[in-house]
């Protein structure tokens, strides 16, 4: 009955869905079944095989096609009389401007990355369109409602930003497998096969200066007429042997650490590579992506953990195959989790390095998950979350403000609830996105360049797409297609200047105005000069505040469930455009209550706290909020409740 009453408002609604992936497929289906007649859907991705276990609108035959378009066609088959408008495009594209957003009654997000979520949030705020936001990972999920002025915006709560590791942990003192993966992927792989002009810290060691690097540079060049196995062994011995020997020379570094052990290919694998099953020639010709070292070595199961010897064989074989079968691509390769040979090489290299540092080895399957920032995903959670999105969307359309809920889908019940509705927060009065509170930035104005500020703060932290930076009335930086040549040259020159030496010098006390016209979003930043920064703790060399970042302790690696730590590094660009679906923040059980804001459990009945309920509250409180994000944003799971040591959790009656 309730449902029938809703039909009128549903039929006349025009909705925008952003994302046609895991949540998107389920959402589009549920919207169509619920009677929605005018649905627009944006997704820039194409379909991949690993989508098919949950993105049920897609079939094997659709691999490579636009998700938005195929999803539309699939839904029209069972609901032929509704309008679905697909856009195979990036939501950050200029065509999706404020006017575009204004035509919708509600926007529903089924996105997979923080960057796009923030972009849509800002457009919705600017256009005054309500947003229903969602995310899932594994069995966890959440749905939140963001209506300007009524509830918090997506960015009122600080979001965890990509995890970065200090360079020396990666280059010299790895202690976790993930450090080895980052080393193998972002340093070794990039050095061997990537753009030679990119800076690379592979040979940077905390101890030695630039003196040895000239000599080291040579080690990576292939000598005239050198056999590829010989070349591979030389690289192997250099990075796993020689470099470790050099590092050992720095006694200071190993006082409180286990000393790594140099590994030489001749010791592990004295004989030449041999093939158990088939050989290189058996590899199917034509498609270079099907070249595989595992296949030529007869290794079948990606779940197996290879021995040091096997890793050595895979490393040498993969190396050989790159030079034998994919030589043309060398110099332009970027690590891609769907590139089998690249994953094999990175797995083997990470494992050999792990062996050297006494870190447990991992299977190719696990290594791929870590290297590719793969988020785990199942159909059921996406279906549940999509159902919840539609329920909230209908409330939004009916203007039932007091009924809005954020709902958490939990893996373990809290207060006997598996689906836990919570009243939405009020807008955060000091949110730099939906209020006009200025931020403050501590930075060494005599050392940091405008480029550092643009990359590390404006793009990475503030999530701006097309920024304009102003100091007083002086334009310091701007991007756009309609700029004059001299303007471009001027801004490019500014990028390389330190802040204090800009045409309008930025020093302690300066106020910078940063604006994104597409997002219609402006914020002011008060600059404060600071001389020194801790390289380990503040790798950016600057500190933005007024917008607290959630601390990001690493979660325990939970190998039996195959969870992965998700990493991104300073070397990674902000958006790799990986396929990963879904997710974001889930306080399991309870919510984080920042100063003054109140989040209520929705069952507000009378106020007595019974003894048994008291016990349960304790249990709930000891549950750890799990803050999760995916993609190149990071996954953080806090496994001890320590996150909230300084934050108060509260359940209101």
């Amino acid at each position: 009955m309730e449902f029938e009453q809703q039909l009128e408002v549903i039929k006349s609604a025009k909705v925008l869905m952003v994302g046609a992936g895991g949540i998107g497929c389920e959402l589009l289906k549920t919207l169509a079944l619920s009677g929605f007649q005018d649905i627009h859907i944006i997704d820039m991705d194409t379909i991949e095989v690993s989508n098919l276990n949950r993105q049920f609108l897609f079939r094997q035959s659709h691999v490579g096609q636009s998700k938005a378009k195929v999803a539309r066609d699939a839904v029209l088959r069972f609901r032929p009389n509704i309008n679905i408008t697909p856009y195979h495009a990036n939501v950050k594209g200029p065509e999706f401007n404020i006017d575009f957003f204004k035509q919708f009654n509600v926007v529903l997000n089924g996105l997979d990355n923080l960057d796009a979520r923030r972009h849509v949030n800002r457009l919705c705020l600017a256009a005054g369109v309500p947003l229903v936001e969602s995310g899932t990972t594994g069995f966890l999920g959440q749905v939140t409602v963001h209506v300007k002025g009524k509830t918090e915006c997506y960015e009122c709560q600080p979001k965890p930003t990509p995890k970065s590791y200090p360079v020396c942990t990666i280059t010299s003192t790895p202690s976790k497998f993930v450090h080895c993966i980052v080393w193998a992927k972002d340093l070794l792989f990039a050095k061997l096969f990537g753009d030679k002009n990119q800076g690379n810290d592979l040979n940077t060691r905390s101890s030695d200066g630039a003196s040895s690097s000239d000599n080291a540079e040579d080690a990576f060049e292939r000598r005239a007429g050198e056999d590829s196995e010989h070349y591979g062994r030389r690289i192997y011995d250099h990075v796993f042997g020689y470099n470790i020997e050099m590092a050992l020379g720095n006694e200071e570094a190993w006082k409180n650490r286990d000393r790594p052990k140099p590994i030489y290919s001749g010791d592990v694998l004295p004989e030449k590579l041999s093939y158990q099953n088939g050989n290189v020639e058996d590899c199917p010709n034509g498609d270079p992506s099907s070249v595989s070292a595992m296949a030529s070595l007869g290794l079948k199961n990606p779940q197996d953990i290879w021995s040091l010897r096997e890793n050595t064989r895979v490393f040498l074989e993969a190396f050989k195959l790159f030079f034998g079968k994919r030589e043309k691509e060398i110099g332009n390769l970027i690590f891609d989790k769907d590139d089998q040979l690249a994953v094999e090489l990175v797995t083997a290299a990470a494992n050999i390095r792990a062996a050297s540092f006494g870190i447990p080895l991992h299977s190719l399957f696990e290594a791929k998950g870590i290297a590719g920032n793969i988020v785990h995903a199942v159909a059921t959670t996406n279906a549940i979350i999509a159902g919840l999105i539609v329920i909230e969307a209908i409330k939004v359309l009916r203007g039932e403000t007091n009924k809005y809920r954020m709902t958490y889908c939990l893996e373990h019940p809290a207060r006997k609830m598996l689906l836990m509705p919570v009243e939405p927060f009020e807008p955060n009065k000091s949110c730099y996105v939906c209020s006009e509170t200025p931020l403050s930035l501590e930075v060494n104005t005599r050392r940091s360049k405008l480029r550092d500020f643009v990359d590390k703060i404006v793009k990475s932290k503030l999530g701006m797409n097309l920024p304009i930076i102003m100091h007083g009335s002086t334009l310091l930086y701007e991007v756009g297609d309609d700029l004059e040549e001299d303007e471009v040259a001027n801004y490019t020159a500014n990028l390389e200047k330190v802040l204090a030496e800009l045409p309008s010098p930025v020093t302690s006390g300066s106020v910078l105005k940063v604006e994104d016209l597409q997002q219609e979003f402006t914020c002011n930043i008060n600059v404060k000069h600071r001389e020194n920064f801790d390289k380990e703790k503040e790798p950016d060399g600057m500190l933005l505040s007024g917008w607290t970042e959630i601390p990001t302790p690493e979660k325990e690696n939970d190998s039996s469930l195959g969870k992965e730590e998700i990493v991104s590094t300073p070397y990674q660009t902000a958006s790799l455009g990986t396929e990963n679906d879904d997710l974001e923040i889930i306080p399991a059980g309870v919510d984080i209550v920042p100063g003054g804001t109140k989040r209520k459990l929705s069952d507000i009945s009378n106020a007595t706290t019974s003894s048994s309920a008291g016990v349960l509250d304790v249990t709930v409180n000891s549950q750890k909020p799990e803050v999760i994000d995916d993609d190149n944003d990071v996954v953080v799971m806090i496994d001890g409740g320590n996150l909230n040591a300084n934050k108060k959790k509260k359940m209101l009656e």
Partner: protein, 420 residues
């Protein structure tokens, strides 16, 4: 467990979910066989989920012929009569589901599930029953329970904005993950029969009577305990009680002939069981529940179950199939309700006409609710088969009106109540 490796195709397709539940679980899934009886929008959601997850086989039963508006919340077949003329619901769904995952064997079994012999069930790892009457559910649950091998049993009901799942995994042992490794965990599920006998879903002589009365009223017939002045003891009574105290304490007590102590001046809800109910009822322990959750849950369950009694009684008397009632039947149903309540000396107030009306009118499934209930059930079946994760015990309720998805452990005979 067989140690066959997954094929390359399986590894590629299931990559993301193997990262959730592991390769062993995936292997177990691919060897499982699921039977589903009764097709509805929620069941279609469920089937989609388990077919995508990669179970070994799915067998569908539903001989009803397809009509254009057979299932409002269906995304498997187009609203085109030519496409399904002369086909049963199970057949049409089977064809569509096959397409979702070529590695899953989807088939149709004709006939009425309750007429099959026990050994028919031996082929299956899990049985999901939907769109049928309470007696049929009991019958099938009992048949499953009598088989030598454990068959996971589920029932599913969705009406309007509400949905409910019942789970019977019998005696279920699994590895529970703790922070410091795994521990073996054992769960004992009560059967549907037990629950019915408990009276909560009962009919006729086993009908549970629920009423809220201030304890002060009860106290008139209660002997006060001298030792503990704050407690009262209920008199010995031929019936048995399950007590729910409100106000400062919220305790589910189990009462038998010996009476029980209860705080005075509490509001007391008493469930009276007839002396004829089964032995097991006596042994029931009720876990302590947080009051707010229980309140919501009981609000819903009381109404749902009592209403179901009324509706099912009506269907039985009229020779209707489950779910075949509509708003047109409201006057007759209200009349029946009155008679039933009088016969059982039960306050009509507890079966509000408005809810009866809502459930009768809202026979249409609510697609978002279908997605949610179908998702939870899918997850549960996957957990039970794969042995990964804590399964729900033993009821799940969702109501879109308040947005809560609540788990209740009802009628367990062997779990110690949690200490408040």
């Amino acid at each position: 467990m067989e140690n066959e490796e997954l094929t390359e195709q399986e590894t590629a397709l299931y990559d993301r979910q193997i990262r959730v539940w592991g390769v062993d679980a995936q292997r177990r899934l691919s060897k499982s066989h699921i039977l589903v009886s009764g097709v509805s929008g929620t069941i279609i959601e469920f089937c989609k989920n388990i077919v995508l997850a990669g179970v070994g086989s799915l067998t569908l039963m539903d001989d009803r012929m397809v009509t254009v508006d057979a299932i409002s919340a269906n995304f498997l077949f187009p609203p085109d009569e030519d496409m399904f003329r002369g086909k049963s619901l199970a057949e049409v769904c089977c064809d569509a589901l096959k397409d979702f995952n070529p590695m899953v064997h989807v088939s149709v079994q004709k006939g009425d599930l309750s007429s099959f012999d026990g050994d028919f069930y031996d082929k299956f790892s899990a049985v999901v029953v939907n769109c049928c009457s309470l007696p049929t559910k009991r019958l099938i649950n009992e048949k499953c329970r009598k088989r030598p091998k454990r068959i996971a049993f589920y029932t599913l009901d969705c009406r309007d904005s509400c949905g409910e799942i019942f789970i019977d995994l019998q005696n279920y042992i699994y590895e529970q993950k703790k922070l410091d490794g795994t521990v073996e965990c054992q769960l004992q599920y009560p059967s549907f029969e037990t629950l019915v006998e408990l009276g909560k879903l009962g009919v006729n002589s086993n009908l549970a009577l629920s009423c809220s009365i201030p304890l002060d009223l009860v106290c008139e017939s209660v002997t006060e305990s001298t030792k503990e002045p704050d407690l009262v003891t209920l008199p010995v009574h031929p019936a048995r009680y399950v007590l729910i105290f409100e106000e400062s304490k919220w305790i589910f007590g189990c009462v038998n002939f010996d009476g029980v102590s209860a705080p005075r001046r509490s509001t007391l809800r008493v469930f009276l069981y007839s002396p004829f109910s089964c032995q097991e009822a006596v042994a029931v322990h009720w876990s302590t529940l947080p009051r707010k959750v229980s309140k919501v849950y009981f609000g819903m369950r009381d109404c749902m179950s009592l209403i179901r009694v009324v509706i099912e009684k009506f269907e039985e008397a009229e020779g209707r199939k489950a779910g075949e009632t509509s708003i047109a039947d409201l006057p007759s149903i209200l009349k029946l309700k009155k008679e039933l309540c009088q016969a059982e000396s039960f306050n009509e107030y507890h079966i509000p006409d408005s809810l009866l009306q809502r459930l009768l009118m809202g026979t249409m499934e609510h697609p978002p609710v279908c997605a949610i209930i179908g998702g939870i059930l899918g997850q549960e079946v996957i957990k039970a088969i794969s042995g990964k994760g804590d399964p729900l015990k033993n009821f799940f309720f969702f109501d879109a009106m308040d947005g809560k998805g609540i788990i209740e452990d009802i009628g367990s005979t062997n779990t110690e109540p949690e200490q408040p």
